[in-house]
Structure formats: C-alpha cells, structure tokens
C-alpha cells in the first residue's frame, strides 16, 4: 500500500551524485529518501543533485527530508541542488518558502554541470 516511489542514484564524478526520485514522496516513504541520501553523503558525496523530473507528488514529509539532507551535507561543506521541479512539487516548496533553502535548476543537466564546476 506504500506510495509508489523509485529511487535511483548514480555518480557523476568523484564527489558528485544524482539521486532520482520517480513517483510520490510522502509520509510513507520519506525515510527511504533520507536513507538513500545519507548513504551517498557518508560515501563522500559533497554535491548531491536531486532529480525531481519524475516526482509527481511531495508533501512536507518529503520537504523535511530534503531540508535534513541539506543540513547534513552542509556540515561537510557540500550542498543539495534540486533539478527539474514539476509544478505540483514546486507548489509546497513555494508555499513554505523553502525555495530559498536550495539552489533550483530547470533540468538535471544544468544542475550536474554546476555541481561538477
């Protein structure tokens, strides 16, 4: 019954990774996103691109998870970059004002290019 979510990660360099979230991120599976992100950070990733191009839904549980990952990666001098937010996912970000917490990119390629620069 858990929300459908597919999490795929890939490295884009020594300390750059992309974490793609396809489906719905909600209270039922936000911890899976947290664990996947923490694993990459513990493996030495400094700049983590979150690919939201196929994310169809995100509630404040998901937002909180991304804020937590941002906080954690900043402790090691890194940062989270959000890419390709769809309108329905952008909506809760804008309402809560959390768009100011992250760097936002229109597409994954632009975010990866920035992360590797």
């Amino acid at each position: 019954m858990s929300a459908q979510l597919k999490i795929v990660s890939r490295m884009e360099g020594a300390d750059v990774a992309v974490l793609a979230l396809a489906g719905e991120v909600d209270v039922a599976n936000a911890t899976q996103v947290r664990e996947a992100g923490l694993k990459l950070i513990s493996d030495g990733v400094k700049r983590l691109v979150i690919d939201l191009s196929e994310t169809e839904y995100m509630d404040t549980s998901g937002l909180g998870t991304l804020v937590g990952l941002q906080k954690r990666i900043k402790e090691s001098g890194g940062e989270i970059l959000l890419a390709a937010l769809q309108p329905r996912v952008m909506r809760p970000f804008e309402i809560t004002g959390l768009t100011s917490v992250f760097k936002l990119y229109d597409d994954v390629g632009s975010a990866v290019k920035e992360a590797r620069s």
Partner: protein
Amino acid sequence: MTTTAPDCIELRIPRRAEFVRVARMAACAIAAQLGFTYDLMKDIELAIGEACANAVEHVSHPSSDDILVRFTVEPTQLVVEVIDRGQGFDPAQQEGLDWALPGGLGLVVIDKVMDDLHVSCDPETGTCVRMIKYRTGG
C-alpha cells in the same frame, strides 16, 4: 420548498503512513467527480494528505487506531474533515527543520491551498481538521 441533505462520503483508514495515500486518492476522485479543475483537485489532494500525515505523525493515543475522513458535498462547497481520536499536537513542540518539519507547516500548506481551515482539539472527541474548498459555479 424542500431541502436535500448534502451527499456525504466517509472513509476510515488505519492510522498508518501507508494508508494516507488511500485518502489522497479518494480526495482526487471526489474532486474530479465534482468538476474541480486539475490544479484544484491536486490542491485538495495535498491538503488531505497533509492533514492525514499530521494525524499519523503527530498524534499519539492508545485509542487512536484509525482516521475518519469525511467528505460533505454541499451546493457551493466541498467540506473535508479529517478526524482522529488522538489528543492533538502542539506545533511548537514538534521537531525543527531537520528530518521532520513541524506539524504546523503542514497546516500552513493546508491553509494556503484550501479556502477555509479550522482545527479543533478535544480530549474527549479527539482532533478534527475541517477544510473547505469552494465550488466555483456550484
């Protein structure tokens, strides 16, 4: 003149995170049935999801085993009530911006996407999040 009682749809889900999606899906189906636009339908889905997530995450009470989601269809508005028998939550006592955003932030989202919001907490009857979305042209 005769009056017709509003249509009422009730959904009772286990108070577990994996069932919040069921309430969201019901909200989408009912909103679509009533002719809400896609964007308004997704706003209603978001609001019901946040209300149910709050009930799951921030209410702890031994007798609170399920959540009642009641949709009342009135001529000019859709009323949605998310009711649980828990003791409610104090947003000020929730965790900070770490892994869990404060329950109050979910209410901020609901307040923004719905036309009216009222939260009542009663030790006897539990917590009720009552939300209204106007039916334009209804």
